[in-house]
Symmetry: C2
Subunit: 375 residues, 2 copies
């Protein structure tokens, strides 16, 4: 299995340009095109290959990195134009694209199409944000169903050549997975953030790290997310239905707590309102515990070393020197802020047997440091 020699990239956004850069670094002959001539020229200037022209040699592989809502049309056009080429895409929704391509291009041509989805590049967009190492260590989903085996090998080879770890699954399985682990979390984050719009200044000033984390991805692009959510409506809607059902049960429980004599309080036979609320939080604990830890391994138990960081220039830098010199391996870290504080709290996760070494190293240099219970 070797890297394809000639690759054509259609769409010079973040993903298309990053793929082009990564392949060029590895000596692949890359041509680029985009409906926006400026985007294509920018990507080429950044080192993403040559602008496509009418007398290009036929590519071995075409990567379609167009917006989700035109992906199927572009794939079909590329399959027709290059009758020998393998065609893949990077859209974050798969089944709708597969169905459309089979219908538009016919079964024979569609056998040269291998659906793909690199799980990378979530928050920034455009060629300017592209990086040749964007896919290093990232998961890249490939859907082999219905495609010729050699075409599948071409796409896996391309994904692995830019450093990604390939996971194969059926298009429906992919769409169901991303509905739950990506699309519904996006909706929930946006709706939590939307509730902050009309709060008073002092009220929104009480925001802490919790709401910051929950709403971080609410900064994402509305147009792109409309295409993703609409494109995966079939898989997203059942998860949203269940979310609404469970949230409505909590809402009714809250009403029963407020008005114990109202019909919402129920007949006393089912679980009481507080049991409904507790069950919801407990179900969340169970679901959260299933998220794989760093590197897909089961969550490991770490000790947390918490250090008070004064709000002074260079404070974190000086702290890092001590952490680095201690020789203790940092597994994870979080910098905690609060509204209107004069200091932050850096939480450093380390192996429990190493926590005391790090604490002593920091305390010896005058840092205010605490070892928290393992988690």
């Amino acid at each position: 299995m070797s890297v394809p020699q000639r690759v054509r990239v259609v769409g010079a956004g973040l993903l298309g340009t990053s793929i082009a850069l990564a392949l060029r670094v590895r000596g692949v002959d890359v041509t680029l095109t985009d409906t926006s001539p400026v985007s294509a020229a920018l990507a080429a200037d950044m080192g993403g290959g040559r602008l496509a022209s009418d007398d290009d040699a036929a590519p071995n592989v075409v990567v379609v990195a167009a917006p989700p809502d035109v992906t199927a049309d572009v794939i079909t056009a590329e399959l027709e134009r290059w009758p020998e080429a393998t065609v893949t895409d990077v859209a974050s929704v798969k089944n709708a694209v597969v169905v459309a391509v089979r219908e538009l291009a016919g079964a024979d041509a569609a056998a040269r199409y291998v659906p793909g989805h690199p799980m990378a590049g979530r928050e920034r967009s455009g060629a300017v944000a592209a990086r040749s190492d964007l896919f290093e260590g990232r998961t890249w989903v490939v859907c082999p169903d219905g495609a010729e085996a050699e075409r599948v090998r071409d796409v896996i080879s391309l994904a692995e050549s830019v450093g990604a770890r390939v996971v194969t699954m059926a298009p429906e399985e992919h769409d169901t997975a991303v509905a739950a682990v990506s699309h519904v979390p996006q909706l929930a984050a946006s709706l939590v953030a939307a509730q902050l719009r009309e709060l008073s200044e002092p009220a929104v000033g009480l925001s802490g790290q919790g709401v910051r984390d929950v709403t971080r991805i609410a900064a994402s692009d509305p147009l792109l997310w409309t295409q993703i959510l609409a494109g995966n409506a079939r898989a997203v809607r059942p998860v949203v239905d269940r979310f609404i059902e469970e949230l409505t049960a909590v809402r009714d429980a809250l009403r029963a707590v407020e008005q114990p004599d109202s019909p919402a309080a129920g007949d006393g036979l089912g679980p009481g309102p507080r049991a409904v609320i507790a069950g919801t939080i407990a179900a969340g604990q169970d679901g959260q515990a299933r998220i794989p830890g760093k590197h897909g391994t089961p969550p490991t138990t770490y000790a947390t070393v918490a250090v008070v960081v004064p709000d002074e220039p260079g404070a974190l830098g000086r702290l890092f020197v001590v952490v680095g010199e201690s020789g203790v391996s940092v597994e994870d870290l979080r910098l905690e802020h609060d509204a209107s504080v004069a200091a932050g709290l850096l939480e450093i996760d380390v192996l429990p047997v190493r926590a005391e070494v790090l604490r002593e190293a920091l305390a010896a240099k005058g840092w205010s440091v605490h070892v928290l219970e393992t988690h």
Copy 2:
């Protein structure tokens, strides 16, 4: 305004014990009690003061740090037992407690009660997790309405003496604020996480940093959160109602996209389904932009320096040495993980004019580093 001389802490959990430790450090005479003798003894052993006894001198201030559902009863009992003392509490819900205390204790005694809520200590619990610096730089809400001025001064003085920044607001204003910035985000995080329970292993393996951030607080304690949500039902329910309404509009829009001929597709007069989805994501952007940045100041524009961190022991430590030696002030940082990756990505936010200095320092030591556009 001086720190109260004798303080009685009722409830030796995370907050009560942390307050006791912080006051002892400052030389205050602290007595401790808890319905669990073991918890009280542990808190005293940690340096949180003496165990309360029947012949204690009357305290100047009583801090009630009991679970939310018994807070009003405990405050009332303390007001009766110590007829000269100022009484405050730390419950994360305020109006229900104020109303209950006025009813149970009468208006005269209730004038010695000053509602409080230190915004700290969210994820861990128990005396073992207590820290004397838990409140340093944190916001501590105090509700002066209806209390005698000298009582309010006592509580503000106590909160400031342990390093907190006091914000005063009415109980209803506090409850409305925390419903939106804390209680509904908790519910949304739990419900997003709950949808992961029945996913296949490969599906949950596609989890990335987005869903990790959204669901981090879903690990919180069900019993505590049931008390908080039930205690603030009056303020939480309207926010949940609006959340359900807006999510239902998205659900109907998804159905209209799936089945363009169904009644859900509407009459063509209102906004189309894609406009509803885009409007939801855009509303989330608007709400998220209102969350104050670090230290309550308006969000500042930083450049992000992204460094690829290999999964080797000590890699982050070596990296931190270079960051520290560069002299560049770190404003924020995030360590990004992906499922099944062999490397992480450390994103360091710095002032734009300093980004190139840091990039060069890291590149000179062989790190793979990129400056991303400012945000």
